[in-house]
């Protein structure tokens, strides 16, 4: 039997890239083999650290896309136009490369079936990544908690995990609503604007249902969602937010 120390360092580990999947023109999923990976909870993330030959280092956090039950570590990274790390991970990284990472971390932005619901997930762009982990966990667990995903993306080709989300929706597991903010396909009947209070009022459960709400994406997006939901009467204490740097920050 192992004795686990109450206080322990969070060590940097090395993961080897064993799979790469182009999800959309801007995003790529990276499957990593991490010896001794201890598993994770849906919603957690890892810190990734890159070191150039001259010792220059850059560090970023990436949400874990795989489910706890998947048994492997998968990250999905979006290439940011002026990014420093993301272009490397999306365009340059190869199978067999090694990445230094630390984690899993983050207990605040975690959903487990035991937490109940109904569950409202609000994703802006690559903010959908931690939700994929939650949705897969929901499925594997056989959870009957009602789930609704509101996913804001620029265009339909930018929707990450589109096939999987469509399958989830078709199987009746989740209710998915998209809003495409920049360009919509012919005959599009979904939303076509940035989220606002009116849109959220239509999509969210009534406050009386006391949904557990998770919103993830760029800071502006997340704060708009949170303010609107509170204005609609939802309890701030049942709203959890995870802001990604993406509004002018370097990534």
């Amino acid at each position: 039997m192992e004795r686990t120390a109450l206080r322990r360092r969070l060590n940097w580990q090395v993961g080897t890239v064993e799979g790469l999947v182009a999800e959309t023109p801007r995003t790529r999923s990276i499957a990593l083999d991490v010896p001794g990976w201890s598993g994770h909870r849906a919603g957690q993330h890892v810190d990734v650290r890159l070191t150039a030959e001259d010792g220059y280092q850059a560090q970023r956090s990436y949400s874990i896309a795989s489910a706890p039950e998947d048994g492997r570590l998968v990250l999905t990274v979006e290439r940011l136009d002026d990014g420093e790390v993301s272009p490397y991970l999306v365009d340059e990284l190869r199978i067999g490369d090694e990445l230094e990472l630390r984690g899993p971390v983050g207990g605040y932005f975690v959903w487990e079936a035991a937490l109940g619901g109904p569950l409202l997930l609000i994703a802006g762009g690559s903010g959908v990544v931690p939700f994929r982990s939650m949705l897969r966990h929901h499925r594997t667990d056989g959870s009957t908690v009602p789930v609704r995903l509101l996913y804001s993306a620029r265009t339909l080709p930018d929707v990450v995990y589109r096939e999987e989300l469509t399958r989830f929706a078709r199987d009746g597991e989740i209710d998915v609503r998209f809003t495409l903010t920049r360009e919509q396909p012919e005959g599009w009947r979904g939303y076509r604007r940035r989220i606002d209070q009116e849109l959220l009022a239509e999509v969210a459960w009534p406050p009386a249902e006391r949904p557990l709400v998770y919103a993830c994406g760029p800071t502006d997006f997340v704060e708009t969602a949170a303010s609107a939901l509170v204005a609609l009467g939802h309890e701030p204490g049942r709203i959890r937010l995870e802001r990604f740097g993406g509004t002018g920050g370097s990534a």
Partner: protein
């Protein structure tokens, strides 16, 4: 727009400092008394150090600076800290 993040962005850093998961720990602001999970801190990472402020009143709650491998952690702005 200054990119304001939240406590999730320093989850790894906080774990390293405290030896355990801290984003669910409840921190009480020494300035306004607001008690919220550290995951809700207003975090500013684009600086010579990590700055974490109260999400209610923006008062400084924690500053973490690492210099030559030694970390300086200032928690003066946290009046109380309880496990989540």
């Amino acid at each position: 727009m200054t990119t304001r993040l939240d406590g999730n962005a320093i989850a790894g850093e906080l774990f390293d400092v405290f030896g355990q998961e801290m984003t669910t720990a409840m921190g009480t602001c020494a300035s306004c008394g607001s008690m919220r999970p550290l995951g809700e801190l207003a975090v500013y990472l684009q600086a010579p150090g990590v700055v974490a402020r109260c999400s209610s009143c923006e008062a400084l709650m924690a500053v973490i600076v690492e210099i030559r491998g030694i970390r300086c952690v200032d928690l003066q702005g946290i009046a109380a800290l309880e496990h989540g």
